[in-house]
């Protein structure tokens, strides 16, 4: 038997089932009288039992058998759908997930035998080890006729593709885009020629090929969101808080790699919201709020970006207190004004900055917003913070929908060229050498000269172009030597060797074959 093939099938099948199991258990917990989740859970356990037994993973198969027994008992009314029962099933699903992931790592899965025993103890002795799912006779005929007359659900026309294969395609298309740009450059010298016509046609085809492949890499955010209801349920228990999680925009699609990279920061922000954001039920009632706190996780498509929002209706962040803590830590001068939203985010994102006086197991260790902000930046995104005393806190992450190909503005200093992502561009202006900083419509902007940044000698004199960028809600000005036009660039991620400056967001090959660095303006100011 082709073991590798069966193992791969076992993994993908079981993971799908287990993800669904968490949703089903949550539904079951909300409405213990409903039979639909029970029947579907039974099938999931049953399916994993069969395939794990076939592969010789006896511990996993035994665990599934225990789960089946409990569900079968619930179905027949011999097992009470109590909190203990439901907790037992949650534990079974967790242990199964561990077992399945062990198989994924090439290990033989083991399951704690005391868990299996404990699960079997939930089942009355007469019922034990005779897994059956009895269907009451009077309902059978009705179900049968309903099933026969129900229209057949058309099989989903989908194929599973290894992400690596898609990545290879995207890389090839990236090269193709570069070659197309070179061809377009040549054709521009022969306006009206046949070369120009062919080049135009190729440009259009490459463009649609590019967007087609990028679309194929997209996945709905639900694939990450769907783990959070379970996580927040457990967190609520742990923290003694009542938490309702609202998911919105779960169907919004983003690039698979962006999605994968989002899991950690979202986990962090949600934990923060549950632990720091939401008050205890008693405190909420005292403040005239519902006992149950609400956390909203929402995805929204805005042009080429997706905005992912984590909002809680808790107590908000106390800016005065943040200022005090920042002064204590020497991050602010003693007389500094109360920070605005942008400054607040920068303070919170300071490595090690925490508002907690004690560390809980959930959060408050001080590693947090900085890691989130770094991740968002590395994806080419920006972050925003809104908070209102007594009303709650909202973190917004604006992220590119796709990652591999970036629309950029090319700028020059000296003989070097740099690419600035379009997503951060606000506007362009002109700078007179005599001024120390750029002033836009009367107000001065934080200003940097790209020559200083990259270590070139200062420009002699005169007027130079300025690129105004907006990152994390803050506008800043970058003085360059020349604006060279817009370009689709293929982002090559640089393995960060020690000493790579933080403002390097990646690298790309320009149409003429020369390399250029992609700037991360957020790291410049």
């Amino acid at each position: 038997m082709d073991l590798a093939r069966y193992t791969a099938l076992f993994l993908s099948d079981s993971r799908d089932h287990l993800q669904r199991c968490n949703e089903l258990l949550l539904a079951f917990e909300r409405d213990p009288g409903s039979s639909t989740p029970v029947a579907e859970l039974f099938r999931a356990f049953h399916s994993i039992k069969g395939s794990s037994a076939a592969l010789g993973y006896d511990a996993v198969s035994e665990l599934c058998h225990a789960g089946e027994q409990i569900l079968s008992g619930v179905r027949s009314g011999t097992v009470e759908p109590s909190r203990v029962t439901i907790d037992g099933l949650f534990q079974a699903v967790d242990a199964l997930a561990e077992g399945v992931e062990a198989v994924g790592r090439g290990e033989v899965p083991v399951v704690d035998p005391t868990l299996i025993e404990a699960l079997f103890r939930l089942v009355p002795v007469v019922d034990a080890r005779t897994a059956e799912l009895p269907i009451p006779d009077r309902r059978r005929e009705a179900r049968l006729s309903a099933a026969v007359t129900a229209p057949m659900r058309p099989a989903a026309r989908q194929v599973r593709v290894d992400l690596e294969r898609l990545d290879a395609l995207v890389n090839n298309i990236g090269e193709l885009v570069v070659a197309r740009n070179r061809l377009a450059g040549l054709a521009d010298r022969e306006i009206g020629s046949e070369l120009e016509q062919v080049s135009g046609r190729i440009s259009a085809l490459v463009g649609s090929l590019q967007s087609g492949v990028l679309r194929a890499r997209m996945a709905p955010v639900d694939e990450v969101f769907d783990r959070f209801p379970r996580m927040l349920r457990d967190l609520g228990r742990e923290l003694g808080k009542e938490i309702r999680l609202e998911l919105q925009g779960t169907e919004i699609e983003v690039d698979r790699s962006v999605l994968d990279a989002l899991t950690e920061p979202l986990t962090h922000l949600l934990r923060n919201a549950a632990d720091h954001g939401l008050e205890s039920p008693e405190a909420r009632v005292a403040a005239g709020k519902p006992r149950e706190g609400t956390i909203r996780l929402r995805a929204e498509r805005v042009r080429d970006e997706v905005t992912v929002t984590v909002a809680d209706d808790g107590n908000g962040i106390d800016r005065v207190q943040v200022r005090e803590r920042a002064v204590e830590r020497g991050l602010l001068e003693a007389g500094a004004p109360v920070p605005d939203a942008g400054a607040l985010l920068r303070l919170l994102a300071h490595p090690g900055f925490t508002m907690r006086t004690h560390v809980t197991s959930v959060s408050g260790r001080g590693v947090g917003i900085d890691a989130v902000l770094n991740r968002v930046r590395s994806l080419g995104g920006r972050m925003e913070l809104k908070t209102a005393p007594g009303r709650g806190t909202t973190f917004l992450m604006h992220l590119p929908v796709t990652r591999a190909i970036l629309r950029a503005l090319l700028v020059g200093v000296g003989t070097e060229r740099y690419a600035i992502p379009f997503g951060v561009l606000a506007e362009a202006a002109v700078h007179e050498q005599t001024e120390s900083e750029v002033t836009l419509r009367g107000s001065p902007l934080p200003t940097a000269d790209l020559r200083d940044v990259v270590g070139l000698p200062r420009a002699a004199s005169g007027r130079r172009p300025v690129v105004v960028v907006e990152a994390a809600g803050v506008r800043a000005a970058l003085i360059v030597d020349s604006l060279l036009g817009q370009q689709d660039v293929v982002v090559e991620h640089l393995a960060a060797p020690v000493g790579l400056p933080p403002w390097v967001g990646g690298a790309t090959i320009l149409p003429d074959g020369e390399p250029a660095l992609i700037l991360d303006p957020a790291a410049l100011f």
Partner: protein
């Protein structure tokens, strides 16, 4: 020409495994079904020489599917695939018209033995 088989199981893992066992032995798997309702539909369409039928499936379970198929085709050769501990259900399936059963996890030889016996 080899005999034709319809494989019914909601788990792709099991379908793949049964299909492999049968194909390697020279049988032709002409269809797969993921639910009882699909099994009934595909049986009518494909008229296979043999059906392998899982018991626990969504929409309509395997036993109901057997009953439904045998209503019009009492001669249908259906082999039940049951998990351990489903003896009572196997008895019910046989009463409904299934001709034999194998127990998961499968021994390929046991599956082929049952199939050969059924197809005579």
């Amino acid at each position: 020409m080899g005999h034709t088989v319809l494989v019914c199981d909601d788990a792709i893992f099991m379908r793949t495994m049964i299909t492999d066992i049968l194909t390697q032995a020279g049988y032709e798997v002409i269809g797969e079904a993921e639910s009882g309702a699909q099994a009934v539909e595909k049986y009518r369409q494909l008229k296979p020489d043999l059906v392998t039928m899982d018991i626990v499936m969504p929409d309509m379970g395997g036993i109901e599917a057997v009953r439904e198929i045998c209503k019009d085709h009492p001669e249908a050769k259906i082999l039940m695939c049951s998990a351990m501990g489903q003896q009572a259900l196997v008895v019910e399936a046989i009463q409904a018209g299934a001709k034999d059963f194998v127990v998961k996890p499968f021994q390929p030889s046991r599956v082929l033995e049952a199939v050969q016996r059924l197809l005579g």
